[in-house]
């Protein structure tokens, strides 16, 4: 513990003023800026290579402080998603035809190409409202509502948190809880688990909308270590139950020896899939635990932000994330901030590449690459500056690369050597502007 240095100047000044003015009690000062609203806005472009997903979004967060550190936050995000995403089927040496989720038309993928479904041009709007306020001198609380809307998915959520300071505000302990109810209304309906992809017009494999409930809890401790170092440690728990499957993804049904997808021929005059595909199915429950730690360290003007997160869940996925940022001031009004992030995850226990014809179906199966075994690296640079009017702007450019591998025991016959994890390269560009009105 640091020894008590000489009494601070303001304490001595307060005592001297008391002697000067006489000991009549004076109410402690309550003053604050009335900044109106503080706006934090950002325009984002996210684009993957090979005609895959592209996203453009506008994000606005407005915050207004009131007397006593109470604050109201309003957030709005609008984004539009275009581009194609892997539909879960494996490559073949011949062209493959798939029925679109709507069931009203088909699309064909050339030979030896990773099947991508480009049906989706989706626009999403998300809103949030939050209120935070102190309770007494050492406690703080917040509550919030969130909602997001897209044509096939709706989310509504409620969250709250409580925190308390200890040790002259050197330690803060906090707890938070969030619950959400999300509903799916997939285009064409929700597929029955492992149902076959049908010809155009076929509906027997689909049912109505589905939903899921999510509960998140976070417990954290923030600790001031020294004048220059602050650390945080959080434990999070998350449980999702309900419909957790991706209604648009399939698995290829393959021959047990060759590993090639079983072919089929649609009836005359009807368009439909050229091979046998089965809709995926995931468990209806998922529990995740995470341990997250972050440190901020001030080094003579530069600030290092380092964090590590470990996640494990009951789908057998384990992941590690290391995130490093260094904010480097340039001149009096600007800074550069290089950024590096390393991520690795191990695959879900029901992750597989294909389903084998003639064998018993597994309880659950998905070939969604996002449940697979991969590493990802993000490298980026941000440049920010303060305008003469006191507002802040910044631009950042980052590259995100995912490289994965398919566990050898999942590959059968001709798949070996032909099937590879669909590596991802994406660029992230963001322009942000913070101002007050």
């Amino acid at each position: 513990m640091t020894e008590r240095k000489q009494t601070s100047v303001s304490a001595a000044l307060a005592a001297a003023t008391c002697s000067l003015l006489g000991a009549a009690p004076i109410a402690p000062v309550q003053a604050q800026e009335d900044p109106g609203w503080d706006f934090n806005t950002a325009l984002l472009y996210y684009g993957e290579d090979n005609d895959r997903v592209q996203d453009l979004s506008l994000n606005i967060l407005g915050k207004r402080y009131f007397v006593d550190d109470r604050a109201l936050s309003l957030g709005l995000t609008v984004d539009t998603l275009t581009g194609a995403t892997p539909n879960g089927a494996i490559r073949q040496g011949v062209p493959q035809t798939f029925t679109r989720p709507s069931g009203s038309s088909v699309y064909t993928i050339p030979a030896n190409e990773l099947p991508l479904d480009d049906t989706f041009k989706d626009t999403r709007a998300a809103l949030s409202v939050g209120w935070e306020q102190p309770l007494g001198r050492l406690w703080k609380t917040s509550v919030g509502l969130s909602g997001s809307f897209e044509y096939d998915y709706t989310h509504i959520g409620l969250n709250g948190s409580l925190s308390r300071d200890f040790n002259q505000r050197n330690t803060t302990v906090s707890a938070g809880l969030a619950i959400a109810h999300d509903t799916w209304d997939p285009v064409g309906g929700t597929p029955v688990p492992f149902a076959p992809m049908l010809d155009v017009g076929g509906t027997g494999n689909k049912t109505g909308g589905e939903s899921k409930d999510v509960i998140d809890a976070v417990f954290g401790v923030t600790q001031v270590i020294s004048r220059r170092l602050l650390v945080q440690l959080n434990y999070s728990f998350s449980n999702s139950s309900g419909y957790l499957t991706d209604p648009y993804k399939v698995l290829s049904l393959v021959d047990g020896v060759t590993g090639d997808t079983i072919t089929r021929v649609p009836p005359p005059g009807v368009e439909g899939p050229s091979h046998e595909f089965r809709f995926e199915s995931r468990p209806d429950d998922r529990t995740k635990h995470s341990l997250y730690t972050q440190a901020k360290y001030y080094m003579g003007g530069k600030v290092l932000d380092a964090s590590y997160r470990y996640m494990t869940d009951d789908w057998e996925i384990d992941s590690h994330t290391v995130d490093l940022r260094l904010r480097w001031p340039v001149g009096e009004r600007s800074y550069v901030e290089p950024h590096l992030r390393f991520y690795t995850q191990s695959e879900a226990d029901f992750y597989t590449i294909s389903l084998v014809d003639g064998t018993e179906l597994p309880a659950f199966a998905s070939s969604d690459y996002r449940l697979g075994n991969f590493d990802a690296v993000t490298a980026g640079l941000k440049y920010g500056w303060t305008t003469r009017g006191g507002n802040e702007m910044s631009i950042r450019a980052e590259l995100y690369r995912q490289t994965g591998s398919i566990p050898g025991d999942l590959l059968i016959g001709n798949q070996v050597g032909r099937e590879t994890y669909p590596d991802l390269d994406a660029i992230i560009l963001q322009f942000s502007y913070r101002f007050s009105r």
């Binding site: 601070s8 100047v9 303001s10 001595a12 000044l13 307060a14 001297a16 003023t17 002697s19 000067l20 003015l21 006489g22 009549a24 004076i26 109410a27 402690p28 000062v29 309550q30 003053a31 604050q32 800026e33 009335d34 900044p35 009131f66 007397v67 305008t387 003469r388 009017g389 006191g390 507002n391 007050s436």
Partner: protein
Amino acid sequence: MERRPVRQVSVEAGQDCLVGHFDAMASPCEILIESDDRAEAARLTKLAAGEAWRIEDKFSRYLAGNIVARMNSARGNAITVDDETASLLDFADTLHTLSKGRFDITSGVLREVWTFDGGDGLPDPQAVKDVLQRVGWDRVTWRRPVLTLQAGMEIDLGGIGKEYAVDRVAGRLREAGTCSALVNFGGDLAVTRAPRQRQAWRVGIEPVSAANNECNETVLEIATGALATSGDSRRYLQKDGIRYSHILDPRSGWPVERAPRSVTVAADTCTEAGMLSTLAMLEGYNAEAFLDGEGAMYWCRR
């Protein structure tokens, strides 16, 4: 000899309040009163003006015959001062120690060599050295209630006077009435008690540079407490590209280096706020770090 402004008091309607006006200590003074009772507002304003003028008459260095004039013309003789003056001298003594000599009520004589008129007339270094012989609280013998000043030295309470007056006036208004009032002497202000019909009093902090086109005037909401500003928007010298602020370091006789253009501090009393902003200015380039370290609420412009 300064021409004294006419001493009169007036009351006008403000935004949801009544405003009493008068001039004191070379500043326009206003008392914002949360009341619609004109008679009461007039009574309180007269009370406030009376106290402000009393302090001005007693401690102004421009008036002959008051305690300051007597101290400054004693030519080395001991002077016995009254309680109020003694308390101010004790306070100045504490501040001299707290600021490690940067705050010094004997530094007023430096105005003989420095004229901050926006021009480039820097004084001759030898002249500054000569005047510095007559500066230094350490050279003063102060044993309450007796003060002994060497010949040629002067006491100047200008650095504490206005904020002290604001707090005294606020104290009188607190005792004299029950409504909330905001005492504003040209930007140094204090609130007597929390307002009842509104969340807080709203005051603006003037941006310093007119050249700043995007200047957003900062609006403050103050429910209790006080504000004081130290600034040099008009009083400075500029030569060879260097701006010399009017805040002089009494230990060297030269302006403090790289002082901010203005510092506004919020504190429980106007005296504390004023002293913190003055001490911050005296820290020069270290002003913000000093205020951060003190946990002060402040707005600094460079």
